[in-house]
């Protein structure tokens, strides 16, 4: 049976009138890459800060590795690696010194520490920048240094709070691949982001948050099943008679069809061979069409389905 690494129960955190966390509960198993997805201000970072005992909370309990998490539970802290949203490195220390310093807060044995630091440098690909000062690094490299500082001591639980904010696509991919590799090496990962593509790409299980509440939880597939719209067919077509539109709307599993500009957009709910049936209707009516493509539901659709607003709208 998989061990529970993190257990949060009924967490409530208030900032005066604002309820930042509203009876939030969560259980994360060993070996998971657990994603916390939600718009800005949904309570992801507050959850992480309460989890790490940095923030006080009004109600609830937090357990890590089966023990109550407190600010002075150094035994637990030893096995946690944290990569915060804000880059936290010393500008006056080189890449190597920064990693060595933060690793030294966890590992006292010098030989072991040296090995760990070398491994971390290699892991984030900063071998050529060891003597560089952070100010000389690009945004992506700086983020990688930030990660190296958080994981150099080889923690069992790694918490990454939006580690790819303002990072170029190449560095972002490198970071995401790294996280998956850390997970393969045995670490349990908690990953927060408002980028649903990232969460979808790497997380084995996801909790969607909004206004301090967990509004959904499950694997990507489980979450997508919560959405009525299971696939959207888009067909390039110049003009389409209303009678044909009605015929398409009457097809099984089709619950919405519209012609917007040059695109015929059909939303389907469940079922198989939906696209074939639609194309057969068009052929039968001798209508010519251009490109055809199918879009599967995203986590944004899940969020939209549950909250009535889009995840992206909230970010703005």
């Amino acid at each position: 049976m998989e061990k529970t690494v993190v257990k949060i129960e009924n967490l409530v955190k208030r900032y005066k009138e604002l309820i930042a966390l509203d009876h939030f509960s969560l259980e994360i198993k060993e070996g998971e890459i657990f994603g916390l997805l939600g718009p800005n201000g949904s309570g992801k970072t507050t959850t992480i800060n309460c989890l790490l005992s940095l923030l006080s909370f009004d109600k609830g309990t937090v357990e890590i590795f089966g023990e109550k998490m407190t600010p002075v539970n150094y035994r637990i802290k030893k096995d946690i690696g944290v990569i915060m949203q804000n880059v936290a490195v010393f500008d006056e220390m080189t890449v190597y010194e920064n990693i060595d310093y933060f690793c030294g807060l966890y590992i006292t044995d010098k030989k072991v520490r040296k090995q760990y630091v070398d491994d971390a440098v290699k892991f984030v690909g900063l071998e050529d920048f060891l003597k560089f000062y952070p100010k000389k690094l690009s945004g992506g490299l700086l983020r990688r240094l930030n990660i190296a500082c958080g994981i150099a001591h080889k923690p069992k639980l790694i918490i990454l709070d939006e580690p790819t904010v303002a990072v170029d696509p190449q560095s972002r991919n490198k970071i995401l691949e790294g996280i998956q590799e850390l997970n393969k090496n045995g670490a349990t990962i908690i990953y927060t982001s408002h980028y649903m593509e990232e969460i979808e790409q790497i997380c084995t299980r996801i909790a969607i948050m909004d206004k301090g509440k967990k509004i959904a939880e499950g694997t990507t597939d489980q979450l997508k099943k919560m959405v009525k719209n299971t696939e959207t067919e888009t067909i390039e077509i110049l003009d389409i008679p209303e009678a044909v539109m009605e015929e398409i709307r009457d097809l099984p599993h089709v619950y919405n069809a519209s012609h917007d500009g040059n695109d015929l957009v059909i939303s389907c709910s469940g079922g198989k061979h939906n696209l074939i049936r639609i194309l057969q209707v068009l052929q039968k009516n001798e209508l010519s069409f251009g490109r055809v493509y199918t879009t599967l539901p995203t986590l944004n659709d899940v969020f939209l389905e549950i909250t009535g607003t889009e995840l992206r709208d909230k970010e703005d």
């Binding site: 923030l55 802290k77 220390m93």
Partner: protein, 377 residues
């Protein structure tokens, strides 16, 4: 973990450019400025040399002669007198061998000087004063001979009232005091280091604080190591500054230079502690706290007389208690004690006061940063 933190605090502090500027470069530049700006004035006003004059006597004036002899024979003679004739005197004046010629012709005394300056003014003032006093005595002899003794005694008491009455072993030198205050300022600039330590160890004030608070290193260990590391860096900076002032600018701190180092280092510790306490207060951003810290330091220096020479005396008159708790005044006071007093009682007392205030600042800082969880981040 302690040594690890200690080592990296030193490494980190020595690379903070702002710190190096304020703690090493700034005192070097300001010290050089003081040397250039004040040494000229100092030499001209405070340490003027004996003024060479020539006296041309057409008729002999025994009283004037004896007055000039007594002046020449004093420990710190005002004049070096050459008795000569008019021709040679003029020649000496042209060649600047003398700066003035006093001519005595009966009761009349006239003066020729080579130009305008402090020395020439001194000769003129002396002659005027001599003439006035001579006239007073002559008039008294003529009009009220029985009171001559009283008048002479009154004139003597006027002279004695302007004499220096030594109360202590030495005199505070206003020129050197600028450098004392400079050392005090360097010591107080250590408050910036203390401020950074407080900030960088609190999760709600700095991202580094959040990261450190997540680690298994206890906050007490981390803070203590950082404070000790910064004390070492501060001590190095004070040593560099004092050495530069003493050996490069050649400012004479007397025979007690090692004790100047001791007080400077203790002052540095006081500065760091003050910054640590200020940094621990409230949840203001780093910029605001730095501004407060620098303002407090500058204000302390102002009231200790760094910017206005007699400010410290003014504070001593109006609010003497403030000088007893003003860190800048305390630091510079220890130096004055070394200069003025032969014993060490006052010096030790001032150093103990500094140590006590440092400990109080550190305790307050620890109490304010002991918080384990924060209400907001």
């Amino acid at each position: 973990m302690f040594l690890h933190n200690f080592k990296y605090e030193i490494l980190h502090s020595l690379r903070v450019k702002d710190l190096i500027f304020w703690l090493i470069l700034f005192p070097i530049v300001l010290g050089a400025f003081f040397k250039i700006a004040f040494s000229g004035i100092y030499e001209k006003t405070e340490k003027f040399s004996t003024v060479p004059i020539a006296v041309v006597e057409s008729t002999e004036d025994k009283i004037f002669h004896s007055v000039m002899d007594s002046i020449e024979q004093s420990d710190d003679p005002l004049f070096k007198v050459t008795y000569t004739d008019e021709e040679k005197a003029m020649d000496m004046l042209k060649k600047q061998k003398v700066l003035g010629i006093i001519r005595i012709d009966g009761k009349e005394k006239s003066l020729s000087v080579s130009g305008e300056g402090i020395e020439q003014t001194i000769i003129k003032s002396f002659l005027e004063q001599y003439a006035v006093q001579e006239q007073i005595i002559t008039d008294t002899v003529m009009t009220d001979p029985q009171n001559v003794e009283t008048v002479v005694s009154a004139l003597n008491s006027e002279v004695s009232s302007t004499e220096n009455i030594p109360l202590t072993e030495g005199d505070p030198d206003p020129y050197v005091s600028y450098f004392y205050n400079l050392i005090a300022m360097v010591a107080l600039f250590g408050s910036v280091t203390g401020l950074h330590i407080a900030m960088e160890n609190q999760a709600n004030l700095h991202p580094l604080g959040a990261r450190k608070n997540c680690s298994p290193t206890p906050k007490f260990v981390s803070l203590t190591a950082s404070l000790l590391g910064s004390f070492v860096v501060q001590a190095v900076c004070v040593i560099v500054s004092v050495s530069y002032i003493a050996f490069v600018l050649k400012i004479d701190f007397g025979s007690r230079l090692p004790l100047v180092y001791v007080s400077g280092i203790l002052g540095g510790i006081l500065g760091v502690s003050m910054g640590f306490m200020v940094g621990s207060f409230g949840s203001m951003k780093e910029g605001a706290k730095s501004a407060i810290c620098m303002s407090v330091s500058m204000l302390c220096c102002f009231f200790s007389g760094l910017m206005v020479g007699n400010m410290k005396a003014l504070v001593a008159e109006k609010a003497p208690w403030f000088n007893e708790i003003n860190p800048a005044a305390l630091i510079s006071d220890t130096f004055y004690c070394l200069e003025i007093y032969s014993g060490y009682d006052r010096y030790i007392e001032k150093n103990i006061t500094m140590a006590i205030i440092s400990v109080i600042f550190i305790i307050i800082g620890f109490l304010l940063t002991r918080r384990k969880k924060y209400a907001s981040l």
